[in-house]
Every structure is written in C-alpha cells, then in structure tokens.
Amino acid sequence: MTPLARAIEAVLFVAEKPVSRGELARVTGATPKAVEAALAEVGARCEETGLRLAHEGEDWQLITAPEQAPFVAAYLGADRLRLSPAALETLAVVAYKQPATRAEVEAVRGVNCDQTIYTLMQRRLIEERGRRETPGRPILYGTTWEFLECFGLTSLEELPSVMTPEGVQVGRTAEAT
C-alpha cells in the first residue's frame, strides 16, 4: 500500500463516524485528488479482508464485510433487526427516491404512512433532510448510515436493482430524478 493509503486507513480506523474526503485531505496534507486515489486503494485492499470501505457521497467509513455478520453479531451480542412488510415498503420508497416527503411515499403506497415513517425514524434507518420548498414546506426524508449498515451495503449505488413490470432493471440511480 502507498504511504497515503496507509495513513488514510489508520485515520478511518480511529474515526467513530464517517470522515469526509476534505477532512482526510486536511489531516494527511494530501490533495483531494490523491486522497481519492488512496481511498480506491484502501477499498480494493479491503475486498480481500473482513472489512469494507463504505461511502455516502463524500463521507467515508470502514465497516465489517456483510458476510462476517454472524461472527461480529455473536461477539457484540447484537439483536437482529426486524421490520414489518409495511415498514419495508416505506423504506423502499424512501431509499430509492430520496429525498422524499411523506406525501410522496403515501402517493406511491396508497396508504397513510405516518406510523411506518415513525418506526423507521426510531430505528434510525431514515432521518429528516430539511424541507421541500413548496407550499407547506413538507419534511424531506432520506436514509442514514445505519440503513446502509443494517442492509450490508457499502453505498446507495449497491441497492438491489429490481425488474420493473416493463422488464427494466432499475437500481437507485436510474430512478433518481
């Protein structure tokens, strides 16, 4: 590994929350471009190990590989997350359309989603992301780091793509408006 990649790995290791690319550049004294290359190197190295490099936008974090979940859960004594089908539907709408308002989620699901949105907020799977600047200024919702973690994703780009009735494979990016 290059010295910069090693330094970045060490910083991400001690960080208790995602670290932005800018912050990584600042503490290593490298250019954002060099940081990007080093992050790619850290990510590639992780592929062969029990760890993964996850990111949401410009924020980066080291996490455990999803297939190690049984061992890590055994060590931490972690509980298994359970969600009702209704909560999963609401989560699916928010995850693939984010940021989304409650009204938008309800339009898609055809039912009131107050309770499921609350459940997902309480589980820290979704969070408020400001407000839409339309009449009533409705709250916008987006997914959290916990969401990525709970579903073993290293980024939103990894959301499972699903065949639409028209026979098109769609992931999140294809759906983004």
Partner: protein, 233 residues
C-alpha cells in the same frame, strides 16, 4: 397497516392481477372492478380512514368499467388527474416496483448480512475527552424526546434488563450467606421477567452443583425452598 394480508388498496389490486396471471401492462383494469369490490366488501373491521383509501381505488375501477361499457360517456372533457386507466396503471406499476424492492430489502435483512462500524477511539492511553458542545447534547436530547413522544402503546417493548448468570450467582451467594433458607419465589421478587427467572434458575443450579445449597420441592409445581447447605464452606 396490514389488512387481511394486504398492505393497502394498490396491493389488493396488484394481488388480483397476479392471481389471475394477467399482464399488468395490458390488463383492462375496469374488468377487475367487480372482483375488487367483492374483496373490499369481505374486508370487515377496517378502520374508516383505510376503508376510504380502498373505496377511492374501487370507485376508479367502477368508473373505468362504466366507460368501457358505455363509450359515450368517455372521455369526460376535463379528466381529473388519476381517473384515467393509464394513470391508475402507472401507479400500479410503480407500486409493483416498490413491492419488489421491499421484498429484496426484506431478503437482505433475513439473510442477516449486515455490516458493523467501529465506535472508534485511538488505542493507547485515553486522553480525557474535551470540546463537547452542550447545544449538540441538548439537540440530541430534544430528538430523543420527540421520537419517544410518538411512541404508541405497542411500540413500548420494555427492553429486558440483561442479566449474567455469573452476576446473579454472586448475588444469590450473598443472599444465602445471610439467610438460612428462602423460597424461589422470594428470589424472583415481585414481577420477574422471563429472562430474570431463567438466569436465577441457572444460577441456583450452579450453586446446587457446587454444593452451596440444597433445594427442596414438596409437590410438583409446589414452592421451591432453597436452603443453605450446612457443610458449605
């Protein structure tokens, strides 16, 4: 929100299409009106606000059916958004995609392949923490309060205290050094949780095995009496 196996009015309609192996892209939705109404009628004990959501879809279907039977009344000059067959079909297709995604996400959850982060911290001698922001702390508290205020009865799953057998064994040893004999019921206290009862029981077995106590039960389901063993060191 699950009503008789359906997540909502669109789910019921989608179910009908799939049951009959119809093509969602070409099915004449108006043809499903009768069956849809029959199903909605069979859903008794629906809360009023949910009934209305089902009835909105049902009325659309009836309207579509009427138009197909009496072409003269279609199209209305100023269509409300959402009343055309294409609009309803578009929503149904979108819902089908969401349902597929929800299923895919559910599968991932069930597979249990989640990730974990590290809570962080530099190894080596820990420096006392500094630089906490009291406004951030207050904001976190406000957020927790706001979420907690929304808790409904069924959300409150009192998280059971987790007990370790080791810790409980130590406690029982203290109790037994102070008392000649106690009943199992006394050791459990007023309102024991199942977890607490189990751990207490295992701890007792451990003490019994180590010859610290004797256990007596006169009748099946009778009171269990725990007695300090005389020879206990």
């Amino acid at each position: 929100m699950t009503v008789e196996g359906f997540e909502g009015p669109l789910d019921l309609l989608l179910e009908l299409v799939e049951e009959r192996k119809l093509d969602i892209l070409t099915v004449r939705l108006g043809d499903l009106a009768d069956e849809y109404l029959a199903r909605v009628r069979a859903l008794d004990a629906l809360p009023a606000e949910e009934v209305s959501a089902f009835l909105v879809v049902a009325s659309r279907l009836v309207l579509l059916k009427a138009r197909s039977l009496l072409p003269a009344i279609a199209p209305a000059e100023e269509e409300d958004e959402g009343t055309t067959e294409e609009e309803l079909r578009r929503r149904l297709i979108e819902y089908a995609a969401v349902k597929g995604r929800a299923t895919a996400l559910g599968d991932r959850l069930r597979a249990g392949e989640r990730a974990f982060h590290r809570e962080g911290g530099a190894p080596g001698p820990a420096l006392p923490p500094r630089g906490g922001r009291v406004d951030a702390l207050a904001a976190a508290w406000t957020k927790v309060l706001a979420l907690a205020a929304r808790q409904t009865e069924e959300d409150i799953v009192a998280p059971a205290e987790r007990y370790s057998v080791e810790q409980r064994t130590e406690e029982l040893e203290t109790v037994m050094s102070e008392h000649e004999q106690v009943t199992f019921a006394t050791l459990l206290g007023d309102r024991p949780t199942l977890g607490f009862a189990i751990v207490t029981f295992i701890a007792l077995l451990d003490l019994y095995r180590r010859l610290v106590i004797e256990v007596e039960q006169d009748a099946l389901f009778g009171e269990i009496v725990v007695r300090r063993k005389r020879s206990a060191s």
